[in-house]
Symmetry: C2
Subunit: 391 residues, 2 copies
C-alpha cells in the first residue's frame, strides 16, 4: 500500500534496518511513525504501530494496522519475522495496548503469547480492552511496561477513537488558515488562499483522517467548495459533509452545488433547527433543538446546541470525528460551547492587518475566560507553519 506522510517525524539514523540496535525510546518513536501510516485507512479503529526487537534490542520488524478489518499492528510485525526463533527473549513495542477479543481478526494478546518474548512496552491504554490482554500476557510471564516516552504523541494517535467511544459523540477538530495576525480576509470581504500550495495539500491529508467535514451554510453559499480529498492515496475515499444551516437556507443551492458534483446526496447532512419543516428534496435533514444555555441571546435563532448534534452524528451517522472548516461564525460557536477537542492552525508568514478574523465572533468578558490550549506539535510546511494544539 502506498503511504505518504508529510507530517511524520524523521528518525535519526535508520532504525527500520535489520539488526540496528534501538533504545526503547527509539523503538516507540518508530512504532508511532508506523502507526501514522494507518491514518485515513483504519477508522473507526485507531491507528496502531508495532516494533519488535530481539533479546539484544536489535531491530527485527515493524508493522502497523493498515486497513479497517485487516491485520492489527502486532500481527503485521510478527508476520514479517521469518525465523521465529529470533523472538526468544525479544522486546515488543506497541503504541496501544493489545486487544484481547476476537473481532474481525484474532485477539493480539493470544498471538503474542505464542512466542517466548521477554517484554512488551505499550504506549497508552484502550478503554474497552481494559488491560485484559496485558494481564493475560503478564500471567504468561511477559514483562509489561508502560512507555514513559512520547505520551502526547501516543495519546494524539488514539484521541478521536477514545473520545468518541467514551463520550458517545463525535470528536471535533477545527481547521483554520490565517496570517500571523489572525486575519483571514479583508473587511471588504476580499479573501484568497492565505497559505501556500503545500499547506493546502497537507490539509487534504488531514481531511482523510476525519469521518466528516463540517461547515456553516454561509461558507457553502459563498465558497461553493467541493470538500473532497484531492490527494493520493485518498482520492477514492468518501468523506461525509455536515452543514449547519439553522433555517434551511441552503437547500436549493445545495442540489446544484460543487459538493454534490463529487459525492452522493446521502453523504451530505444538513442540520436545521427543529422548527424548520422537512424538505421534500431528498436532502438528509437533521432536526435539532435550540441552544438552551443562551436563550436570551440576540443571535438565538442562529445557534445550535452542539453537544446533542455531535451525539446524533456519532449515534445515527457513525461519524467518529469531524473537521470543522469554517467559517468564522461556525468556529466561534465551537469555541463558545467548548465543543472542540483540537485545533489545526495553518499560519502563513504574512501580515494582513485590520480585517476579518477567525475568532471575531468569539467574545469573552475578561481575560481569565481565555481558552488555554496545549501545544502538541508545530510543523513547518514550506514557508507556512502548522500548529497542532489541543483544547
Amino acid at each position: 500500500m502506498k503511504t505518504f506522510l508529510p507530517w511524520s517525524l524523521k528518525i535519526i539514523g535508520n532504525p527500520g534496518r535489520d539488526n540496528v540496535v534501538l533504545s526503547p525510546r527509539q523503538a516507540m518513536q518508530l512504532a508511532i511513525k508506523e502507526a501514522e501510516k494507518g491514518f485515513g485507512f483504519v477508522e473507526p479503529n485507531p491507528p496502531v504501530g508495532c516494533v519488535i526487537l530481539d533479546s539484544e534490542y536489535r531491530f527485527l520488524s515493524s508493522g502497523f494496522h493498515a486497513k479497517y478489518g485487516g491485520d492489527h499492528a502486532e500481527v503485521s510485525a510478527l508476520k514479517k519475522i521469518k525465523d521465529k526463533s529470533r523472538l526468544k527473549g525479544g522486546h515488543v513495542f506497541i503504541t496501544l495496548e493489545p486487544c484481547h477479543h476476537k473481532g474481525k481478526t484474532p485477539p493480539c494478546s493470544l498471538e503474542l503469547a505464542k512466542y517466548p518474548i521477554q517484554s512488551l512496552t505499550y504506549g497508552t491504554e484502550e478503554p474497552f480492552t481494559n488491560k485484559k490482554g496485558l494481564n493475560y500476557l503478564c500471567e504468561k510471564g511477559i514483562d509489561i511496561v508502560r512507555s514513559i516516552d512520547f505520551q502526547k504523541e501516543l495519546e494524539a494517535l488514539v484521541a478521536p477513537f477514545k473520545f468518541a467511544t467514551l463520550n458517545k459523540k463525535s470528536f471535533v477538530s477545527l481547521k483554520i488558515a490565517s496570517s500571523l495576525d489572525g486575519t483571514t480576509a479583508l473587511e471588504t470581504g476580499e479573501s484568497q488562499w492565505i497559505t501556500g500550495e503545500s499547506a493546502r495539500k497537507h490539509a487534504h491529508f488531514l481531511r482523510a483522517r476525519y469521518s466528516a467535514i463540517l461547515i456553516g451554510f454561509n461558507t457553502l453559499l459563498k465558497d461553493n467548495p467541493q470538500l473532497n480529498i484531492r490527494v493520493e492515496p485518498f482520492k477514492k475515499k468518501k468523506n461525509k459533509v455536515v452543514i449547519l444551516d439553522p433555517e434551511g437556507k441552503s437547500f436549493s443551492f445545495l442540489l446544484q452545488s460543487n459538493l454534490l458534483k463529487v459525492r452522493a446526496l446521502e453523504d451530505v447532512i444538513v442540520c436545521c433547527l427543529d422548527k424548520v419543516k422537512k424538505n421534500t428534496l431528498g436532502i438528509n435533514q437533521l432536526s435539532l433543538p435550540f441552544t438552551s444555555s443562551h436563550s436570551k441571546s440576540v443571535n438565538i435563532k442562529h445557534r445550535f446546541s452542539l453537544s446533542p448534534l455531535l451525539e446524533i452524528l456519532y449515534r445515527e451517522e457513525q461519524i467518529q470525528s469531524v473537521l470543522v472548516e469554517g467559517g468564522a461564525f461556525c468556529w466561534s460557536e465551537f469555541l463558545r460551547q467548548k465543543a472542540a477537542q483540537k485545533l489545526y492552525l495553518y499560519m502563513a508568514p504574512k501580515i494582513i492587518g485590520k480585517g476579518l478574523r477567525w475568532s471575531d465572533h468569539f467574545k469573552i468578558g475578561n481575560l481569565s475566560q481565555s481558552i488555554n490550549l496545549q501545544s502538541l506539535k508545530i510543523i513547518p510546511i514550506e514557508d507556512d507553519y502548522l500548529l497542532e494544539v489541543s483544547f
Copy 2:
C-alpha cells in the same frame, strides 16, 4: 565568561570534543553556535564564530568573538590549540569572512596566514572588508570556500550589523506577544501577560541583542515599564530607550517613571515633532519632521517619518539596532512605513477572541498589499512559540 543560550541549536553528538570528525556542514553549524555566544557582548561588531579541524577533519578547537574590543573568533580558536603543528593541512570554518585591517586587534587574515592550513570556509561576506582578507589568504595558497549551508542563519547573525552600516540607519525588529488569534488585550483595555514566564525571560535575552528599545508614549504612560535587562549575564548592560512622543506628552511623567529608576536620563531619547518646543527638563529631545507621504491623512499629527528618525538614531546616538516593543500604533507605523527588518512573534497557545490586536492600526486596501515575510525559525519555549520572521 558565562553564557546562556536558550535559543541555540542542539547539535547531534558532541562535535566540540577533541578528535571527533565533523563534516563541513557540522563544523559550520558549530561555528554558528559559537557565534551566538557573543550576542549582547560584541555590538556594534557582529557576532562571529570559528571552528578549526585538522587535516583529517578532526575537531581541534572552536572560538568566538566574546567582547567588543576583544579577540576575534579566529584568534580565540587559534589560541586554544597548543600544538600548532596539528594545524598542518587543517580546515578553518568562520561564520564571517576574516578581517584584513588593524582595528582594536590585529588583522585575522595575517594571523591565519601564519599557519599551514589547507582551507578556509566562510559563511558570509562583510561589506567593508570586501574579501581583502580572503584574497590575501588565497594568494598564500589557502583554498577559500563559501559555505553553502545555513545561509539563512549565517545572514541573520550579521543582519543588524550589515543593515546599519550599509544603510546608515538603525536596524529595526518588532517584538510582539499575542494569542494564537493575534489578540493582545480585550476591548475593555484589560491586558495581562499573555505568554509564560520562560518566554518573557527569553525576551530579556532578546533585549540584550539590541542597542535600544523603542516604545510609543502611550505605552510609557499606561504600562510604566522598566525596559531593562533582568537576566544574567546582562543585568549590568545598559540599554537605551527611545520614546515616540509626537507632541511631547510624556515629559513630566517620564521624570518620575520606572524607566528612570533603572537608567540615567541621558539614556532616554524622546522623539517629538519639530513643532514641539524644546523642554527645559534636561530630557534628551530629538526633533523630527512630519511624515510627508501621508500629509493629508487624518492622523498626520501623530505620525513620524521613520526613515529620517532611524538615520538620526544611528548617526547621532550610535544606535545600531532597535527593538520595538509596542504599542499597537507604534508597530503598525513601522509596518506601514516598511521600516522594520525583522519580527519576533511570541505566541501563546491561547484563544482570546474579539479584542485589541497588534496589527489593528495597519490597514491595507486589498490582499495584494499584505506584507509577506520569510520564516527564519520557530522555537518552542515551554508552551509558547517564538516565530522569527524577516521582512
